[in-house]
Symmetry: C2
Subunit: 319 residues, 2 copies
């Protein structure tokens, strides 16, 4: 990584570089893999951490808890977090399995905030998409009883007493109240609601496409995270009506289908692996980002914010 | 805002709502404007703060320090910050005035990070865009001597000893070193560089289109902020080469021209006003966002991060 890349003119973000590390640049790091690691006085970079990761540092996405949002431009893969929103996840899966979303649309794209999808006729009871077995609304799950695995982030956070990661998801917790919750950050998916806290349920979903709106934490039920394809949402034209809603029906983006990965034939699945967040490898990755050691950097922050910690995804190895 | 909006299914972001407040919803708030303010037990919302703002709470964008980046899809307006990057701003203006950027291109769009523009042939000395009077590279201005106006944010920040706002720009400062710097957040514009800190100068620029990469603070020269049209950058297709560079020349987005607002005939200008950040109105706005009082919210954060404080822009009143 020390050689000067032609015309890159940094800043560099390593997250998008992961695929390249796995395919090609890993060659340059085989010293680490072969046990002939150079005697580094400083902690490794993220590229080095990932190159040295073991197969057990990764887990597959959970097929029973992963959705494929099929758009005309491709597939958005969303991993659900049943530990943090058990009722919403179960209901969303029921909605998906009865084909609720098929033929509905993306309704809203608000710059630096959210993309939102659901039923354009949700407010018109005579025209709204019918629901067979699932629920239209549910009791809110803004927070849940703590007790799930939790890897705390050592750095402080202004929005929560403690933050960290649970099974690959960003989360907050409060030991005084004994509650935990998912935290908003880029790519997180939640259940839209009206003013009544219990008016959501999964029929209308949003994904964060901008700076983390952490003030929404504990105000809305988050239920998953986009693990591939967020750019299909983040590059959508912004809506020009209030709050980024599309003004005209023809501006909406049609949803071909939403399917559960487990229901899709194996050959049509998107096989992904998630870097586990409860391992020494992940701890090393966090440290590699708290103080950047890549040659380009001149000042080490000595800190990292929850929403700047990479949550790394890679194509699964061929079986 | 108490009435339930049809099919909005929040979350709501007020920033994009500002125009609506000025045009229509202000009617609903005339009680405040007419002196018959309701006896509120709680602090006002952002909409109420803006509706009650005085003309003196706003300032015009500085014509001599504002650039128009003209794309096939429209105009991106960038206000420069000479107080934080005097050499870079002067050089960038010189580059613009000699037409350096006209006909160059957007080269890179990396999801949740930056869009970058400049000379595709910058690394090929025999083909690179010539420069007449301006400089190709400059001494870095990662930080500058403190001393400019500064409205501190009371809430803590992990990336800097203190953060706040100076003339509408987000900034950090360190009293121990006596230095100040612009902070990365959505829409901020900086000067790309190679590994040598003094290899930038303004010929290659980037704008943040994702979560604030605050670890870049003090590592690169920030020099301004997009005050209108960031969505023309944030919705660009992502590049599929390493770091989000476009793989093929035809994928690049041509730059029709970059012009200084002061050099553009008055009739062709985009007249904008910026909410001042050194006023009681701005302090009230910050407070309105630390604890959201809108009916939708159930939990008040009691905190706000630098990058979630709205920096409000509106069309200038007709003269």
């Amino acid at each position: 990584m020390g050689s000067k890349p032609t015309s890159w003119r940094l800043p560099v973000l390593w997250e998008a570089f992961v695929n390249y590390v796995w395919r090609g640049a890993a060659l340059a790091l085989t010293g680490l893999l072969c046990g002939s690691a150079p005697a580094l006085a400083q902690p490794p970079t993220m590229a080095e951490v990932l190159a040295a990761a073991k197969p057990s540092d990764w887990r597959p996405v959970a097929l029973e808890d992963t959705l494929y949002l099929e758009l005309p431009t491709g597939r958005v893969v969303i991993e659900l977090a049943p530990a943090f929103a058990p009722r919403h996840v179960a209901n969303l899966k029921a909605l998906v399995r009865e084909g609720y979303f098929d033929g509905l649309a993306i309704l809203r794209s608000q710059d630096n905030y959210v993309v939102q999808w659901g039923d354009p006729d949700a407010e018109q009871k005579d025209r709204q998409r019918p629901i067979r077995k699932a629920q239209r609304t549910l009791q809110a799950e803004f927070t849940v009883p703590d007790g799930m695995p939790f890897t705390p982030l050592a750095d402080s956070d202004g929005y929560a007493p403690a933050v960290g990661f649970s099974n690959g998801f960003p989360a907050g917790r409060d030991r005084k109240t004994g509650r935990a919750w998912l935290a908003h950050r880029y790519g997180m998916v939640g259940a839209g609601r009206d003013n009544d806290p219990d008016s959501g349920g999964g029929t209308e979903l949003y994904a964060v496409i901008g700076h983390a709106p952490r003030h929404l934490d504990r105000n809305v039920t988050l239920l998953g995270r986009v693990v591939q394809g967020i750019e299909l949402l983040s590059t959508l034209p912004r809506g020009t009506a209030a709050l980024g809603f599309y003004e005209k029906p023809e501006q909406r983006v049609p949803i071909r289908a939403v399917r559960l990965a487990a229901d899709v034939p194996a050959a049509e699945r998107t096989d992904l692996e998630i870097l586990r967040t409860d391992t020494p490898t992940f701890a090393a990755l966090v440290e590699s980002r708290r103080n950047r050691r890549e040659e380009w950097f001149r000042y080490a922050a000595g800190f990292i914010e929850l929403c700047n910690v990479p949550l790394v995804v890679r194509p699964a190895a061929r079986k």
